[in-house]
C-alpha cells in the first residue's frame, strides 16, 4: 500500500498558553513542540502497521517551516520511510489542505491518514477538506481499520454509536483513539531517521479563507468553595441555591 500520513506539530500538552503582539500571536517562549498526538500515536502507527503486514511505503507530509524538522525526524524514527515538507509558514486549514491535496493528486496514494484534530486548533478540518479536493471518501474519526483483501473495513465514531463501513479504492481517514497503539522510537529507528529522505517542496499559491485576528484567555476561576467532607448535603444545597445547576 502506498500511504501518506499528515503530520503537524503541536505545543507539548503541558505548555503554558499565552499570547504576544497585542494578543495576536501565540507566545512560543519556552514552548516545546511535539508531534500532534493523534497524528503520531494513531495515524502514523496505523500506516506503519499496514506497511509491515501488506508491504508498501509510508510517506509523511507536513505543511510548515523548517522548525518542523525535529518532529518530522521523530515520525521517520518511528518508522515512516520518507517525508515531504511543504515550505510554508502555516496558513488556515484550507491553505494547508490545498497543499496536501496538490502534492497527493498525482502520486497514487491508496490511503491518506490524518489525525482527528490538532490539539492547538481543534478544527478537525484538514482531512475532510483534502478528501473533497481529491474527490475521495472521507472516513472521519476512525477507531479501527483492517484490510480484507482490497476492501478496507473501518469502524468510526458517529453520533450515538459506532458505524462499521467498507470502502474500496483510495480514501482519506482521520484517526481517533483506538486506531493503533502508541510506539516509542528505538535507537535504531532514531539513527536510521537521520538519513531517510526529507524532501522540501515549494508551496502552491492559495488565498486564506479564514484568519485569526486575536486570542483571549478565559476569565480566571473564582476560588474553590470547600464543603466539609462530613456534610455533602451542604454541597447539594450550594449546587441548587448558589450555582443553580441542579
Amino acid at each position: 500500500m502506498k500511504i501518506l500520513v499528515c503530520i503537524s506539530k503541536a505545543p507539548d500538552t503541558t505548555s503554558r498558553i499565552a499570547f504576544t503582539d497585542n494578543n495576536t500571536k501565540f507566545d512560543e517562549n519556552g514552548v516545546q513542540y511535539i508531534v500532534n498526538p493523534y497524528d503520531e500515536w494513531y495515524a502514523l502507527v496505523k500506516g506503519i502497521e499496514l506497511k509491515e503486514t501488506l508491504g508498501g511505503n509510508v510517506t509523511t507530509i507536513t505543511v510548515g517551516g523548517s522548525d518542523n524538522e525535529p518532529i518530522i525526524r521523530k515520525a521517520l524514527a518511528i518508522g515512516a520511510d520518507d517525508a515531504v515538507r511543504v515550505d510554508l509558514e502555516t496558513g488556515d486549514s484550507f491553505v494547508v489542505a490545498s497543499q496536501i491535496a496538490a502534492y497527493a493528486k498525482d502520486q497514487g496514494f491508496d490511503l491518506i491518514l490524518c489525525g482527528k484534530e490538532t490539539i492547538n486548533y481543534n478544527s478537525s478540518l484538514v482531512g475532510g477538506m483534502v478528501a473533497e479536493m481529491l474527490n475521495m471518501p472521507y472516513l472521519s474519526l476512525a477507531t479501527s481499520l483492517t484490510m480484507e483483501g482490497s476492501t478496507a473495513v473501518i469502524e468510526r465514531e458517529v453520533q450515538g454509536g459506532v458505524e462499521v463501513l467498507e470502502v474500496t479504492g483510495p480514501f482519506v481517514l482521520s484517526a481517533a483513539k483506538g486506531l493503533a497503539e502508541q510506539r516509542i522510537p528505538n535507537m535504531r529507528g532514531i539513527m536510521a531517521a537521520r538519513t531517510k529522505p526529507l524532501n522540501v517542496i515549494a508551496a502552491i499559491s492559495v488565498d486564506q479563507t479564514a484568519e485569526i485576528v486575536s486570542y483571549t484567555l478565559p476569565a480566571p476561576k473564582g476560588a474553590c468553595k470547600y464543603v466539609d467532607a462530613d456534610h455533602p448535603e451542604e454541597l447539594i444545597r450550594l449546587l441548587h441555591e448558589d450555582a443553580k445547576v441542579i
Binding site: F94, Y121, G160, A229, V245
Partner: protein, 315 residues
C-alpha cells in the same frame, strides 16, 4: 436571505446537537432558517419548535459524508443561503469541511459565539483544547460555522416548519455501511450531550467500585465519564475517556471524583460551567479549577452524597 442548517436524524427526530444548531441559526437574525436532513423523518422532526421554518428532506437512509456534502451544498444554493450551520459533533465533523470546500466558503469549526458583523465577519472559537479562545475572521462571501455542542443551549420558538422533499442527485459512493453499533443500549445519555457528568479517576481503585459513581449519575440523569488511565487499563469503556486525547465536553455540572486534575484532563472539561472536585489530597491540582470542593475519601463521601442527592430529588 436564509441560513441553512445541517440536521442529523435519530429515530425520525433531529438530534440535540442539531436543535442547538437550529437555535443558533435563528438567533443569528439572518433570515429564514432552513434545515436539510436525510433518512427517516417523523413530522418536522421537532425542528419547527426550535426555529426552522422549512425542512428540506431527502428520504435516502445511508449516505456517505461526500454525498451528504453535495446535497447540503445544493440545498444551500436552492435555499439562497450564504451561511451553513453545523453542530461540531461527530456528524458535523464528517461533513462540514467538505461543504466548505464545495461552496468556496471560509469555515469556523468549533464556534462558541454568534458572528460579530460590526467589522467584517468574526466568530469566536475555542482553541488549545479549551485553554484559550480565538476570534476568526471569515473573508469569503459564503460561510460555514460549526458550533461546539452544549455551548449555546436550546432556544424554543414553538413555530412549525413546512417539510419539502429534496431529491437532489447524491452521486455515487464507494463506501458501504455494514452495521451500526449504538454506544449505549440502555438509553443512557450520550456523554457529549449530557448536562450533568459524573466522572471518576484512578482514585476509585478498581472497576468494581464504580457502583456509587453510576448511582450518583442516575440520580441526576447524568452521563458517566473517566480519566484516561482508567479507560486505558480497561476499567471503563474508551468512549468515557475525557480530556485532551479523549473527548471534550462542556456540561453545566461536572463531578470529578478521585481525579488528580492533570492539565491534559482539564483540557477536556474546563468548558464545564460548574466543577465539583472530590479528592482526598488537598493539594490535588484539580481544586484550582474547581468551583466546589470536598477534601475527603470518596469511599466515605459518596454514600452520604448519594443520600443527600436522593433526598433533594424526592422533594
Amino acid at each position: 436571505m436564509s441560513v441553512l442548517v445541517y440536521t442529523d436524524l435519530h429515530d425520525g427526530k433531529a438530534s440535540k446537537g442539531s436543535l442547538e444548531a437550529l437555535s443558533y441559526a435563528s438567533k443569528m437574525n439572518a433570515g429564514d432558517v432552513v434545515a436539510f436532513c436525510h433518512g427517516t423523518l417523523n413530522g418536522d422532526g421537532g425542528m419547527g419548535a426550535f426555529g426552522a421554518t422549512k425542512v428540506l428532506h431527502n428520504a435516502i437512509e445511508n449516505l456517505d459524508a461526500g454525498q451528504i456534502a453535495k446535497m447540503v451544498a445544493d440545498a444551500a444554493s436552492q435555499a439562497g443561503a450564504d451561511v451553513v450551520v453545523f453542530s461540531h459533533d461527530n456528524s458535523g465533523k464528517a461533513v462540514a469541511p467538505r461543504v466548505a470546500v464545495r461552496m468556496n466558503a471560509g469555515i469556523v469549526a468549533g464556534a462558541i459565539s454568534l458572528p460579530n458583523t460590526s467589522a467584517g465577519y468574526v466568530v469566536r472559537k475555542s482553541v488549545f483544547s479549551g485553554k484559550a479562545m480565538a476570534d476568526v475572521s471569515l473573508k469569503t462571501s459564503k460561510k460555514v460555522i460549526s458550533i461546539v455542542p452544549n455551548s449555546f443551549g436550546l432556544h424554543r420558538t414553538d413555530g412549525t416548519a413546512s417539510v419539502e422533499a429534496f431529491n437532489g442527485d447524491a452521486g455515487n459512493s464507494s463506501v458501504k455501511v455494514r452495521s451500526f453499533k449504538p454506544t449505549s443500549t440502555d438509553g443512557a445519555i450520550p456523554l457529549p450531550e449530557a448536562d450533568i457528568v459524573v466522572s471518576a479517576g484512578r482514585g476509585m481503585k478498581g472497576p468494581e467500585n464504580w457502583g456509587p459513581i453510576e448511582e450518583l449519575a442516575s440520580i441526576f440523569g447524568a452521563a458517566t465519564a473517566c480519566s484516561r488511565p482508567v479507560a486505558d487499563i480497561g476499567w471503563r469503556p474508551h468512549h468515557e475517556h475525557v480530556g485532551q486525547t479523549g473527548i471534550a465536553i462542556r456540561p453545566t455540572l461536572y463531578f470529578a471524583i478521585g481525579i488528580s486534575g492533570a492539565i491534559q484532563h482539564l483540557a477536556g472539561v474546563n468548558g464545564s460551567k460548574v466543577i465539583v472536585v472530590i479528592n482526598k489530597d488537598p493539594e490535588a491540582p484539580f481544586f484550582k479549577a474547581a468551583d466546589y470542593g470536598i477534601v475527603g475519601d470518596a469511599f466515605e463521601v459518596l454514600p452520604m452524597l448519594i443520600e443527600a442527592a436522593k433526598s433533594f430529588k424526592s422533594h
